[in-house]
């Protein structure tokens, strides 16, 4: 589903690369944690998958396509196959929960009837069926992240990319979010999650890819967080 072949990324005006000669392969339906300290290259890894940035050398394969060779007009098509969730939720404060989710479909031109059908479905899946008409500001952090996940998942992406989704949440809420991501993973969606949360990684026991200074230092099938912090 995602494959990095000798990928190096050097940002402009920086001496050391953010990723050095990274080789990782993630199969369809896998759940992968991406761990490592700040500045280890986790975000760069995710940005390369989304084609927010271009690799300096090496090849990034996402959903069977060489992302580096993708012309810019094809990039939206790539992103439609990828759901994304962030630490800061990125909801629109002046739209209701349902409108926030619907927005993701409206802007890719889905028909209204389709939107009316799938938005309540996905909100039910994340457990917010009774808060569809609320504004994001009226919800707790965990609920807001559920809305963001619903928005990321509403178009049934092949891959869900989550960048520190529990970073702003307390441990109990984080467990709820993890369960939700696990359920999404069970529908066959590949999930890739960058995190600092050792407790969650140790509990869930999924594959762990650890980065340090842009190098993959560990790739463990049923790993723990496992570095001193």
């Amino acid at each position: 589903m995602i494959r990095f072949d000798n990928v190096t990324k050097l940002y402009k005006n920086q001496h050391s690369p953010a990723l050095r000669d990274v080789n990782v392969e993630i199969e369809r339906g896998e759940f992968v944690f991406l761990v490592g300290p700040s500045g280890s290259g986790k975000s760069t890894f995710l940005r390369l998958c989304l084609k927010e940035d271009k690799a300096t050398s090496g090849t990034v394969w996402v959903a069977g396509k060489d992302v580096g060779k993708l012309p810019s007009w094809r990039v939206p098509q790539l992103r439609r196959q990828l759901g994304t969730v962030f630490q800061d939720f990125r909801l629109l404060p002046n739209k209701t929960v349902a409108q926030n989710v619907a927005f993701a479909l409206e802007v890719i031109g889905k028909p209204r009837s389709h939107i009316r059908r799938v938005v309540p479905e996905v909100l039910e899946m994340v457990g917010l069926e009774d808060k569809m008409q609320r504004m994001p500001g009226e919800l707790s952090g965990g609920e807001q992240q559920r809305v963001a996940i619903a928005r990321a998942f509403v178009n049934k992406p092949n891959i869900l990319i989550a960048d520190e989704p529990t970073g702003n949440l307390d441990p109990n809420t984080s467990i709820g979010i993890m369960k939700l991501l696990d359920r999404i993973n069970r529908t066959g969606t590949t999930v890739m999650m960058a995190t600092h949360d050792a407790q969650i990684v140790d509990q869930v026991r999924k594959r762990v890819v650890e980065l340090a200074d842009g190098i993959v230092v560990r790739d463990q099938a049923r790993g723990v967080y496992g570095y001193a912090h």
Partner: protein, 301 residues
């Protein structure tokens, strides 16, 4: 493509940025009005040139008994007139037409021109004298006649109406150049303002556009609302400018200038509509272009 969604975005964008939208509309309206006025003046000048240059003549005034010029020894004699007439005739085809105006005719014309004024009563046919009215095939080559006949025996002086008209047209040309120059400067300002407004709009909606980008909205879908906003503003501005042109035509030309200058042809409605089309097309085109260029820089997709 969901038209209602895009239109909603456009409306929200214009409303949220209301003051900038107004600034945009007014600037576009003013610059296009100036441009329109300049273009109309230009058409007016062209039309007047065509009309007047068709009528201008070179007048070869003959000596009267009172003439002081060296070439004159009393009133021009019949032989002198005959020589002049032959020479004029030989200058065809530059000389298209020659008309001999007798002193009586000149007196009549003078009386009609200055009717009611004391000058008209005091002048006699003998004071005004006779003249050859020469029509040229090419009015610009009047100097040929002037140099050929000025100072000839029996010729008091050679007068060219075009010289007088040229001064007037130079003035009008200058006015028109100033109007077009200001219009051009205003258009530059307009383009910059459109660019700045779009930059502001893109910045104030970076949350929305960021999400659009992430969920895979196409570049077209992300930029279209912004583009349409500037086009809608330009359209409003152009409509105001066209109204201003129509107002100028109705009030300034039809009601005020035309009754006062009856022998001058003024620009008609066809010119006004033609100019209006140019203004609308130019306004919308420039706004769209400025928006596209700015969005390319500030709305990374």
């Amino acid at each position: 493509m969901r038209i209602r969604f895009v239109m909603g975005e456009v409306w929200n964008g214009l409303r949220r940025n209301l003051t900038m939208t107004f600034a945009l509309i007014i600037t576009i309206a003013v610059s296009l009005s100036l441009l329109g006025a300049g273009l109309l003046v230009r058409q007016q000048v062209t039309q007047m040139k065509g009309y007047w240059f068709d009528k201008v003549e070179v007048s070869v005034f003959l000596c009267t008994k009172n003439s002081q010029e060296l070439s004159c020894t009393g009133a021009a004699s019949a032989e002198q007139k005959a020589v002049l007439a032959t020479e004029l005739d030989e200058m065809k085809p530059l000389v298209q037409d020659v008309y001999f105006e007798t002193a009586e005719e000149a007196h009549e014309r003078f009386q009609a021109q200055f009717a009611g004024s004391p000058i008209a009563d005091s002048a006699t046919p003998a004071d005004l004298g006779e003249s050859f009215r020469v029509k040229l095939s090419d009015p610009d080559r009047y100097s040929v006649i002037t140099s050929a006949f000025d100072g000839k025996p029996g010729v008091e002086r050679v007068d060219d109406q075009k010289q007088v008209l040229d001064k007037l047209f130079r003035l009008l040309d200058g006015l028109q150049a100033i109007a077009l120059g200001i219009a051009l400067a205003m258009l530059v300002v307009t383009v910059l303002l459109v660019g700045n407004t779009m930059r502001l709009a893109a910045f104030s909606r970076r949350r929305e556009t960021g999400i659009m980008r992430l969920v895979g909205a196409s570049k077209f879908y992300i930029q279209l609302p912004f583009l349409l906003e500037s086009v809608v503003a330009a359209l409003f501005g152009a409509v105001i400018a066209v109204s201003a042109l129509v107002g100028m035509k109705v009030v300034l030309i039809d009601r005020f200038l035309e009754p006062s200058f009856q022998f001058t042809p003024f620009v008609g409605w066809d010119s006004v509509w033609q100019t209006s089309v140019v203004l609308i097309a130019l306004g919308v085109g420039l706004a769209a272009l400025a928006a596209v260029i700015t969005l390319r820089r500030y709305l990374r997709v």
